[in-house]
């Protein structure tokens, strides 16, 4: 114990000089940036000429805030320890944490199932819960592409749009029901996933990101400009609401409430939508978990780790990549169809790049490849957005700061731990036999 404690003051004093230096540099950068942005303000005078006023107190305040903030951030880093250092945690607390960690997912699932019961009277919370679950599903869908296969996709919203428009067009033009359209929407989105996948087979990293970004914009622009089919910027309205497997959730004799013999309430539909998106999200989760344990899922993860090694093992890179794009896109398509039936109205405005960025942020912040992490971060991001709705213009600021802090302390995302997919029950038995005859 003596050795570390005698070392600590030394590192601290050098740390303080370092922190002050860093804060000073930050303050200088802030001074340069803000001197024009804040220090000088242009105003038209009475005769319409442009004059300027100086705002030095505000400028000084901003620079001081940056200086102080930089010190605080560095101190926090010092106390929390550098990234990736192992912290000594007593075994009892560690095992309690592990136990708690294992309970999170089932507890969240039970809570999710009970949300409509608990918040039956609060329509706002139900709507918010549906929104959160939509993003959980999108996050899980994108997680297949980005988290598992490691293919950075900035145009994921395109598949969401394809799914939404597939349902909207099929339902309004051909009178198909939601349950017939859902697989079709998924299938069409998957086809577009493969169409995107083919040209980008050889691309990686930044180049892949740019092309997928462009793809997302192409889909949106086609929707905006193909007025005859999509209605252009006016969107499509009057999209049929979902039915309870054929029984409409409407007042009247044919409605769901009348069949059950209970009084009609508009909340029934909301509750139904909630369970619908919950089921779709859980389907996404279940399929992903199953796929991870199959050779194709392992191949995705191996592809993320090292493409050259995959080739050396004779893994078919083409089918591996295309299947990741197709399956990710399919879930996006399902979510899109749900979105269309929930809103009853869709327009290209719902499918901007911002949506892609949001879903990607959910995946990255949650921990690439971690199902629970993605769910938690979708909850935090969408819920957080709503929480800060009152602050309106500061919302993005808080959001940005939260992202920076998270990446400083948890660079692999909320849940950066990766659960292994190959378990060793029967292998252990073999291994035990081998101990006797083992060489070396």
């Amino acid at each position: 114990m003596t050795a570390p404690s005698s070392q600590l003051p030394a590192t601290h004093s050098s740390g303080i000089a370092f922190i002050l230096k860093k804060a000073f540099i930050s303050a200088c950068v802030a001074l340069i940036l803000f001197s024009l942005m804040i220090g000088i303000r242009t105003l038209p005078n009475e005769s319409g000429q442009l004059t300027y006023v100086t705002r030095f107190p505000q400028l000084a305040a901003m620079v001081a805030i940056v200086f102080g903030g930089s010190i605080v951030v560095e101190l926090l880093r010092l106390w929390w320890g550098p990234v990736d250092t192992a912290r000594v945690i007593p075994p009892s607390i560690q095992s309690a944490l592990d136990f708690g960690g294992r309970l999170i997912a089932p507890a969240l699932l039970i809570f999710a199932l009970l949300v409509p019961v608990i918040f039956y009277q609060q329509r706002y919370i139900l709507d918010l819960a549906i929104l959160v679950l939509t993003y959980v599903m999108l996050g899980w869908g994108l997680n297949v592409v980005v988290g598992l296969a490691g293919l950075l996709d900035l145009g994921y919203v395109a598949f969401y749009a394809v799914g939404a428009y597939s349902y909207a067009l099929l339902a309004t033009n051909f009178g198909l029901g939601f349950w017939e359209c859902l697989p079709l929407a998924g299938l069409l989105a998957a086809c577009w996933g493969v169409m995107l996948g083919f040209p980008v087979l050889r691309l990686r990293g930044d180049y892949l990101a740019i092309v997928t970004l462009a793809f997302g914009e192409i889909i949106r622009l086609v929707i905006v400009n193909w007025q005859d089919l999509t209605g252009g910027p006016n969107g499509i309205s009057g999209i049929p609401r979902p039915t309870f497997f054929g029984i409409p959730l409407v007042p009247g004799d044919n409605g769901f409430a009348a069949k059950l013999g209970i009084p009609f309430s508009p909340t029934h539909r909301i509750v139904f939508l909630f369970y619908l998106i919950l089921a779709l999200a859980l389907l996404t989760n279940w399929v992903t978990i199953r796929l991870r344990r199959l050779p194709i899922g392992r191949a995705w993860e191996a592809l993320r780790e090292d493409e050259v090694a995959c080739r050396a093992l004779g893994i078919n890179i083409t089918t591996t990549k295309l299947s990741a794009f197709a399956i990710g896109a399919m879930f996006g398509g399902f979510a899109g169809a749900f979105f269309a039936t929930r809103q009853g109205f869709i327009s290209p405005e719902s499918f901007t790049f911002q949506e892609s960025a949001l879903v990607l942020a959910i995946v990255v912040l949650g921990g690439m490849g971690s199902q629970l992490g993605v769910a938690l971060s979708a909850f935090a991001m969408i819920g957080g957005f709503e929480l800060f709705r009152g602050f309106d213009q500061y919302r993005m600021l808080v959001f940005g700061i939260a992202m920076v802090l998270l990446m400083v302390w948890r660079p692999r995302g909320l849940i950066g731990h990766r659960a292994p997919t190959v378990f060793l029950e029967h292998n252990r038995a073999i291994a035990a036999d081998l101990v006797k005859e083992g060489r070396g």
């Binding site: 392992r298 090292d306 050396a312 093992l313 292994p420 378990f423 073999i430 081998l434 070396g440």
Partner: protein
């Protein structure tokens, strides 16, 4: 029977290029069943390229590659892997965030194999490298360099290959560990009859290990012979064994 006479791998007049830079300028090479063949040469001689071209990437520009009498010249890498040619690439390239068990499983995934085969392959790999057995649930990235090399070879073995190609298995390893790796190759060849192609810069070790060797210079094979013959040749000693090349 002709099956026994035909070499397992035969390369005729093979040429390959990266863009305009020709890396292989007409290679002829043969590997017979049950042989260890080594390919030695300086940096940039084209050794790794030759190995990768046999595995289908980069594609051969000219020439012919035959495996067990079948032409595999234009085949895709996954088709070649399915013919049970396995390779351990240069620099090991294990999957760092996946566990040792998952890494090994990946090796078996590319070829069709049932659970019995997989269990047998796994047993073989763990007998050969008992150290991996203790590390099965550890992530690949946490292994030492020698263990990673064992894992890379083990991963290649999981597909029950008929031809194993190793690219610089001793790269960056301590001499003792390198010797363990070479011993393992020798055991695989002797006990399992596995045919092995080893690309090496460590000419001394490689030539002692191999039945036959080829020397590559600038995309061409300049010398070939048994390991002992090549070891005895003065120009080999000068160029690859006793430091600096004598021009």
């Amino acid at each position: 029977m002709s099956a026994a006479d035909t070499p397992l791998l035969a390369v005729h007049g093979l040429r390959a290029a990266y863009g305009k830079i020709e890396a292989l300028k007409g290679i002829d090479l043969e590997i017979r069943r049950g042989e260890i063949v080594t390919l030695i040469g300086a940096n940039g001689a084209g050794k790794s390229t030759l190995m990768m071209t046999i595995f289908g990437r980069p594609r051969a520009k000219a020439g012919r590659i035959e495996f067990d009498g079948h032409d595999i010249t234009g085949a895709a890498t996954h088709q070649i892997a399915r013919m049970r040619i396995a390779q351990s690439p240069e620099g090991r390239r294990i999957f760092p965030r996946m566990t040792v068990a998952e890494n090994l499983q990946m090796g078996a995934d590319a070829t069709e194999s049932n659970d019995v085969d997989r269990a047998a392959s796994l047993e073989r790999v763990l007998t050969l490298f008992p150290r991996l057995k203790e590390r099965m649930i550890q992530r690949g990235g946490t292994l030492s360099g020698g263990e990673q090399q064992m894992l890379a070879i083990g991963r290649a073995l999981m597909s029950r290959p008929r031809l194993l190609m190793l690219d610089e298995p001793s790269l960056g390893l301590a001499p003792l560990i390198a010797r363990q790796i070479f011993d393992a190759i020798r055991i695989l060849n002797r006990d399992d009859g596995l045919t092995v192609l080893v690309v090496e810069q460590n000419a001394n070790h490689a030539l002692r290990l191999a039945h036959r060797g080829y020397v590559m210079v600038n995309g061409l094979i300049t010398l070939s012979g048994t390991g002992a013959e090549l070891l005895a040749r003065p120009e080999i000693r000068a160029a690859y064994l006793e430091g600096g090349r004598t021009a």
